[in-house]
């Protein structure tokens, strides 16, 4: 029998529900993705410290096990909900929908979704977010965009993290930029250091623009 049914149809339907839910409360949802160890959580904590008090904020943390990351987020004073995916290597739209029952999206603010640290699987699943942000740190290889093209091909923004370490490394920033342009010329690229604070103001400005686009 003829079927013609998309494997992601169910996920995409739920993602559309999530997007409608987020739009109803004018909440910008940002999906942060990277390999493990890129400094995503530290970058997020630093971002929350800079934004709290001015912007309503909440975080959904995705990890296979533990609530370590949600605990680190809560220490900043921002509410966080930990999703443990168990054996699953990515967040999917139903997991985000489930999180809304326990933690409402911050009205008129920003919901940060920290995906499972993995440059492969999270790229395949729309969560209903407004923006996909890929974090790549300079302690990784410059060739990450070519090795993991599915992830970078969907990025709205690429944050190059840990740039304070550049003087101590052989990392070739120009090569990374060239590879990014090859895979995703449309993406904005910003250099940041969660540790030194370098570049954080451009990242906050980017978030501000994304917020006004959905308001």
């Amino acid at each position: 029998m003829q079927v013609e049914q998309d494997l992601l149809a169910k996920n995409d339907r739920i993602a559309a529900v999530n997007r409608a839910r987020l739009d109803a409360t004018h909440t910008l949802a940002v999906n942060l993705m990277s390999s493990p160890g890129s400094g995503k959580t530290t970058l997020l904590c630093r971002t929350l410290e800079l934004l709290k008090g001015q912007t309503p904020l909440a975080v959904v943390e995705g990890d296979q096990q533990t609530s370590f990351d949600a605990d680190r987020i809560r220490a900043t004073g921002v509410p966080a909900h930990q999703v443990n995916t168990g054996a699953v290597c990515h967040l999917d739209a139903s997991m985000l929908l489930g999180s809304f029952e326990l933690q409402a999206p911050p009205e008129g603010g920003i919901l940060f979704i920290e995906n499972v640290g993995n440059l492969v699987c999270p790229a395949g699943f729309d969560l209903g977010e407004h923006k996909k942000v890929v974090v790549v740190s300079v302690t990784e290889g410059e060739d990450k965009p070519l090795k993991y093209p599915y992830m970078f091909a969907k990025a709205d923004l690429v944050l190059v993290n840990k740039v304070d370490l550049l003087p101590h490394l052989d990392f070739d920033l120009e090569r990374l930029m060239g590879y990014l342009a090859q895979i995703r010329p449309e993406a904005t690229v910003l250099k940041v250091s969660a540790r030194s604070g370098e570049g954080m103001e451009s990242w906050l400005a980017w978030l501000g623009e994304a917020r006004s686009a959905i308001a």
Partner: protein, 113 residues
């Protein structure tokens, strides 16, 4: 290994159609997987065998048809064929294209008995 989630979705699609038809078993599952779909066909078949165990789709044969990936080149205004995300347009040498076809992952047909 996100193929496990995708295989789960194939099993749900196949068994719900089989039940609706009053069939006892799914024997064949036909899939169309585009050249730039974010999935490994081998891993998908392996995952399908694992997650279909104990369902109406257990033991079903998975037949995968691969489709070419096509893109619209913005500078040229032409449709081009691409094999990887890093490909440049063969006419203008620029990487400024939008995928129009080739990332699909669909169950196209089922055989039941």
């Amino acid at each position: 290994m996100h193929e496990l989630s995708l295989a789960q979705s194939i099993v749900e699609i196949a068994t719900s159609h089989a039940r609706a038809e009053g069939s006892g078993r799914v024997t064949k599952v036909f899939l169309k997987i585009g050249a730039l779909a974010h999935v490994d066909p081998g891993a998908l078949t392996f995952a399908f065998d694992a997650v279909s165990a104990g369902t109406l789709a257990e033991g079903a044969e998975v037949i995968i048809e691969r489709g070419a990936a096509k893109a619209f080149c913005v500078p040229c205004g032409l449709t081009i064929e691409v094999a990887t995300h890093a490909d440049v347009c063969p006419h203008c040498g620029v990487h400024q294209w939008m995928l129009t076809e080739g990332d699909e992952m669909r169950v196209t047909e089922l055989e039941v008995e």
